[in-house]
Amino acid sequence: MCLSVPTKVIEVFVNDQQARVDYLGARFIVGVALLECVQPGQYVLVHAGEAIQILDEEKALDGLALWKEMLGEA
């Protein structure tokens, strides 16, 4: 049940602490009260109607390299 999906932020409604997000072309509204300062264009992880984390693009790209390194060393 901790299934979460990465979605792209399309629009932020600051007063309502909500955002319109896109997941594989489907658009819906999610709560963003658990995050600080969400910007359109960012990717957020959504679980049960709430965005719980902003995805870190830089770390996503670094991730694979990091793993290869760890497997060599760990």
């Binding site: 049940m1 990465p6 009260a33 658990l34 992880l45 709430e50 984390q53």
Partner: protein, 373 residues
């Protein structure tokens, strides 16, 4: 952002070739297959669906743990939730996976077909909207979930207070995952060599939420959910077994941070207090439940919405209590895939799409003898 990078076939193959010799060597050294537990139900599905469980089976036995909130919810809680639905002036709002969970005498789906007002919602906020549309009736939201789910429910409590709602109530059966893991580790008959920790619980509690495992010197990794994430998690866990000092490693840094989501942690602390609670299979675990905080007592369904006390009884023959602990596999249950199936589930592990029995029913039946001892 390339979200599919972690599913790349070629990278997967290359990494597997790199990891396989390690697995063979470490299996020889240990003298048996390695036993790792994937704690999260979403991981259980991912390991099976991606084929990684099967691929690893010559070297590693992957055991599914207490990672499905519906499955670890105690029978008495389920009966209480069904009892709310039987009240005339109550609307019950729930996430969809509770609907078919068998209580001692009925389930929510059956209650709904008998006229009870049970609504499936995708978020606790949606339940707030329903409460506003029906001010003369009580709305009881069924709070079932782990650290990942509870903050969203906490926000709904804050919203209810802000909007001065008088008819919104939460029945909190939320659970915290670390106490369950600690219990499994203390069980000397349960040979576990390491843990793939739940990725999205870790989003909330951070790597920090697991560091106590380091004192026990247990290898643990926080992993993602794509095939490459899963492969790496196993590779790193196995490698850690060769080291004298084991640690909790975050292999999912694109999502999980050291400290976790501090806003979510703060809101959880505002709305809930940690308390002992009863788990299916485990019994009562200290500091593992989230009671609604006294500041929000007016919204606590447990004390504000009165029902007849339901009498709970065990489901005959059902092994879910042992399966959630990873002590038995679905195939060990006489009911599995015979009388207990996803269309007619007798136990909760067959109901939720992330329950161990449901996952094994969908993906693991063809080669069950190979995989399950």
């Amino acid at each position: 952002m390339n979200l599919l990078a972690y599913r790349d076939r070629d990278v997967f193959k290359q990494l597997f070739q790199q990891i396989e010799p390690d697995l063979i060597r470490i299996r020889e050294k240990v003298g048996r297959k390695l036993r790792f537990m994937e704690v999260c139900g979403t991981h259980s599905v991912a390991f099976s669906k991606s084929g990684v469980r099967d691929l690893m089976s010559p070297y590693v036995e992957l055991i599914s743990g207490p990672g499905c909130p519906v499955c670890v919810t105690d029978q008495s809680d389920i009966d209480q939730m069904i009892a709310f639905a039987s009240l005339q002036d109550v609307i019950v709002a729930t996430f969809g996976d509770m609907m078919k969970v068998p209580g001692s005498h009925s389930n929510l789906e059956r209650e709904k077909s008998n006229g009870a007002d049970v609504r499936i919602v995708k978020s606790a906020y949606q339940a707030i909207d329903i409460a506003k549309q029906h001010p003369s009736r009580k709305l009881v939201f069924l709070g079932v979930g782990f650290e990942t789910t509870a903050p969203g429910v906490a926000l709904s409590l804050k919203k209810a207070r802000e909007d001065k709602l008088k008819n919104y109530y939460v029945y909190s059966a939320h659970k915290l995952t670390p106490p369950a893991l600690d219990t499994l580790l203390m069980d000397s008959t349960h040979q576990l060599d390491g843990f793939v920790l739940p990725g999205h619980v870790s989003v909330i509690i951070g790597r920090k939420g697991w560091v106590h495992l380091e004192q026990l010197n247990v290898p643990a990794v926080i992993g993602g959910f794509d095939a490459i994430d899963l492969l790496i998690a196993i590779g790193i866990l196995a490698k850690q077994l060769e080291q004298t000092k084991r640690s909790v490693l975050n292999l999912y840094p694109r999502v999980v941070q050291e400290e976790g989501n501090l806003t979510a942690q703060r809101i959880l602390a505002e709305c809930f207090t940690n308390s002992p609670t009863k788990w299916r299979g485990f019994g009562v675990l200290d500091q593992s439940g989230l009671l609604i905080h006294s500041d929000y007592a007016d919204y606590d369904a447990a004390s504000r919405v009165i029902t007849d006390k339901p009498v709970s009884k065990e489901i005959r023959g059902c092994r879910c209590g042992e399966i959630v602990k990873g002590k038995e596999a679905p195939i060990d249950c006489k009911l599995f895939a015979k009388v207990c199936t996803p269309t007619n589930p007798l136990g909760p592990c067959m109901v939720s799409s992330e329950g161990t029995c449901s996952t094994y029913y969908q993906y693991e039946r063809v080669h069950d003898t190979v995989l399950l001892r």
